[in-house]
Symmetry: D3
Subunit: 135 residues, 6 copies
């Protein structure tokens, strides 16, 4: 039977929800306060779940320090204290909704993890709104 | 691959665990303190999980404002500051255990959500006792 | 210099806010949903703060096990899974607002603690509404 | 003896720490990542503490619904989903550090509360960084 | 459709990560600070998830009091205020990593629960590092 | 009026409560499970509160990055993943109760902070047991 380990990290970022192919009126109607042209922001909490077999030599699925360093180097360093809409390459042509941020983070980490591991990410935009990918 | 979004809402309610087909002695033995005839109460935390495909136009699975309004109108308005055993129609003939409250909430929301979405509800009766339906 | 120790306990209870010297209309207007005649309820979180000098023999201000047992015997056993408005003597003639519950708990514990200790209680009715006595 | 009541509200906002009287180099050195010209953001948690005497008629220090509505109308509606540095009048000439945001909120609420009440605000910029005014 | 119920318990314990078949150098390199020969410790939070069918007579999947007593008697009484590496039989020949502690707890509880129930355990070593078995 | 800023840090450590001037029987009776000769452990959460005047140039009371680095260098690096009873100089002749750990941390930080600042430390041994010094 497989086991999952979870590592929680965080980053603070600004963003704006906006579809450049829509009129300003439609953007305002669909995205409401989240469409503020001057941006707003969040403390994002990220939980990365890795699933696989325990190594009998270490009792580890994966070294949590290694996993934490991977997330920090490739995700939180890139996103923390940034404006996702302006500063982060992946969102230059993609709306930085919680759903899309989670999918982007999953893609970044999926390339870096060995194939033997399954991967999920859970992203809290606020304590009351959060997403998980893949479901 | 599908994604899940989660919305957390809350309500405060009184209830009593009781089976009217049992004697008072059996009710007291099975339900213990939860059988107090004068009721007791909880701050219930409700997490609604909706699963499906992201809409590429919005980057949303479902508009969280719409989801939150749906939960408020059809669940928390009905249950908040109420006595579940006395004031809520669904529990006139159903014991308001955490399990049954979660199932009732799932049935209410299932009817209101489009078929393309999968639905789960998680209900915290206390920080230490909680349920999820369906498993 | 003095030190404070804090012990957190909890209880789940029903109550109704009501002033028997007022009309039903005034009660409904002032207390709103909290005036529901069938009661509602909460998970109360209680933090008891005791202040004084550290005993150099033990390194303790007060034995936390002793403090916890005192709170359980004299407060949470009396209030847990009860209807404060109906089952608890102290609220037969006193509105069980969060403020009054905190004051009642303070009075109970003040009598039981040695005079050399200062005492405060903090009571969370919900995560968003809480009180502290004395200020 | 007086009692305190506490009400917790929240808002999500973008900001940039910056002193316009300093060079870009000094701003970058002093404020580090918080000086990002494209802004970053936070989920701010605000706890408003009001202190005074319990009204014996209601058992309330102050009606929490009234207090919550006051905070929402005059603080969180103004700050939520805004860029504090660009959209909020009070920070056009004041650096939106956690300290200054707390002082601005205190001044707004102090004018609106009756003199018989004492007032404190606690502001969480993150779970690990927070401020209280006045001390 | 099945339902899950969850019960949260906790224990405080010391441990040391160590593989007796490795050199001290390799242990120090692989396990880092967790290899301190004098031990370190944690507040472990344990969530036990039981899945099955609701009993229509009680509205319960399983009596939470019975489940809590089972966990206390067979897990937390054995582990609480103990040194897992020295005091707990199951870890005399097994490295007490979070993964292995979760698997040991699952095996203890699996034997005690009726076959009709499915079982999962989630174990928080810290707020930021946790595991779930089986995945 | 003064303002307070708070910085939260954490460390994981083992310890044993013990008074070497007492018999084993008295130690066992007074300290109970906390007297386990093989130690037990905790995730300690530390909140450092600094009080003073806001600097009008920065809007800061103190740079939180500087404060965090100070706590990490002088407190959490010394205590994290250690056995307080064996590895930490200050507890070679002082019982590592939560009260004494808080006082030791306060003394370390008091020497390092400028006199213009007031200082308090709050230490959570568990979510339910915590201390503050000075009161």
């Amino acid at each position: 039977m497989k086991i999952s380990v979870f590592r929680k990290e965080h980053f603070n970022a600004a963003h704006r929800l906006h579809n450049p192919r829509w009129s300003d009126e439609k953007n305002a109607r669909v995205f409401g306060k989240c469409n503020n042209p001057n941006y707003h922001g969040h403390n994002y909490e990220l939980i990365v779940q890795v699933t696989g077999e325990v190594d009998p030599e270490t009792g580890y699925l994966i070294d949590m320090k290694v996993l934490s360093d991977l997330i920090k180097e490739h995700v939180t360093e890139k996103f923390d204290h940034k404006n996702l809409s302006l500063d982060v390459e992946e969102f230059q042509d993609l709306n930085p909704s919680a759903e899309n941020i989670a999918i982007v983070i999953w893609r970044i980490l999926r390339q870096l993890l060995e194939d033997k591991y399954e991967l999920k990410v859970k992203l809290y935009e606020t304590e009351r709104n959060f997403v998980e990918f893949p479901a």
